[in-house]
């Protein structure tokens, strides 16, 4: 394995790991709200978070540029305050991975939380425990398999992210060329030997993650 392949592998793992940490924290919170709370616009919120699952990744990437680009709604403010833009950095790749992986986490964890017996939650309340306490000690531990499955699925999705990443992080060798992007460049440049090597690595890794996700989600979904 040469240094550029190693760089892409390391970058992909780094991007996927960072994205997954945020996916877990934010995804579990949103999934809990959707599973346990009744509020106006709930289904609209669910639809918005699910959209990246069905939209072409390039469209998701386009929205990210509109929001986080140097002239985007949020990106402009960040640039004015700090002189820094997320565009064409590995952070942008992590952001793209986060957005496309989040719905997988939300869907899986929401189903797991909804399957927790309501009587157990009521029992916890009658024993003096607050909703927050009950969520931490009863609901989330019982939804653990769904959370693990969602985490593994999200990580696998994040590591394979291409379209949105290309839109917002670009294809800068040695900076933002994650494995899927590097494979695209190698194939386009006719370097089939290196492309093969990366394709095998990515396929094996994704296969292992899917196997793990299936193992944990068996009794959840």
């Amino acid at each position: 394995m040469d240094s550029s392949t190693l760089f892409s592998l390391r970058l992909s793992l780094q991007v996927a790991a960072v994205a997954t940490v945020f996916v877990v924290i934010i995804g579990v919170f949103i999934a809990y709200l959707l599973a346990r709370k009744e509020f106006k616009g709930k289904e609209l919120l669910d639809m918005l978070f699910t959209l990246p699952l069905v939209l072409p990744p390039t469209v998701t990437g386009y929205y990210l540029i509109i929001i986080f680009g140097r002239n985007g709604y949020i990106g402009k403010l960040i640039y004015e305050w700090t002189g820094w833009t997320i565009m064409f950095t590995w952070y942008a790749a992590a952001l793209a991975s986060f957005v496309v992986a989040l719905p997988l986490m939300i869907k899986t964890v929401r189903a797991a939380i909804e399957s927790v017996d309501k009587t157990l939650i009521n029992a916890s309340y009658t024993l003096g425990h607050s909703e927050f306490d009950t969520a931490l000690k009863v609901v989330l531990p019982l939804a653990k398999k769904g959370i693990i499955a969602g985490t593994v699925l999200s990580f696998a999705r994040a590591i394979g992210e291409f379209g949105a990443t290309l839109m917002i992080a670009g294809n800068i060798p040695g900076r933002t060329d994650t494995m899927p992007i590097a494979i695209y460049s190698l194939a386009a440049g006719g370097d089939w030997g290196k492309a093969n090597e990366m394709v095998v690595i990515l396929t094996v890794m994704s296969g292992v993650f899917l196997y793990m996700a299936n193992k944990y989600s068996k009794r959840v979904i």
């Binding site: 009587t119 157990l120 029992a123 009658t126 024993l127 003096g128 425990h129 531990p141 019982l142």
Partner: protein, 270 residues
Amino acid sequence: MSLMLKIGKKVNPVRSSRGALNHAFAKLFWHSSPRQAAGHSASNGVNGFSLDVSWEIGNELAVLFGYSGAGKSLTLQMIAGLMEPDSGIIRFNGEVFYNSSSSINLSPQKRSIGYVFQHLALFPHMTVKGNILYGAKGMDKNIRMQKCAELINEFGLKGLEDKLPSEISGGQKQRVAFARALIRRPKMLLLDEPFSALDAPLRIEMRNFLKDIRAEFNIPVALVTHDLIEAQTLADRLIIYSGGKIAQIGTFDDIICNPANEEVMRLVHT
């Protein structure tokens, strides 16, 4: 679907060993949406079910007796604060748990009522000890451990502390559910058909166990059942539910001798 619970019949409150007068009173009205009605067994999925009951208990074991779907479990859920009535009053020793006219509605956490659910609702991911300790919220750590050890001893659960609920027998699960509900000395105990899944010999054992608990903890107990023998052997006071209404209140012997109507007669003679 509407539900009205009034707990209004006067009884002589009994002074408990803790010196407090234990006396529960409630008066409620609940009108559910059709969606709620469809989700509740008491309505049998039919809109228009109405619960209109009125009872009051002292420091005694009251049995809420009647056919399935009469609204007995709904009543317990409202007393525990797990369901909100539309209006009414629930009071315990003068402390208001719920009062629609002054917008008081204490959360279940603040009512300090022990509740044993029909399927016990033991936390499957916690050990026997973990389940019991979970009921000791807010207690000092040393006291909590001491009370837990006492209950484990007293309820015959020694040696099972580290077992999961799935690894113990039905009778043992019952005892864990009672220990969990009682560890923080609740003001009142609500039991929603806790023995319904047990076989006959174990039921008899658990009835005796419940009598012992009543004697020791000396708090009002409201037990929901549709088992006549259970009602006969346990009830200090029998509250007969019929179609969401109170058909009769009295001791078992009173009701057997003087049933208020034909339906009560059928209920207590089947």
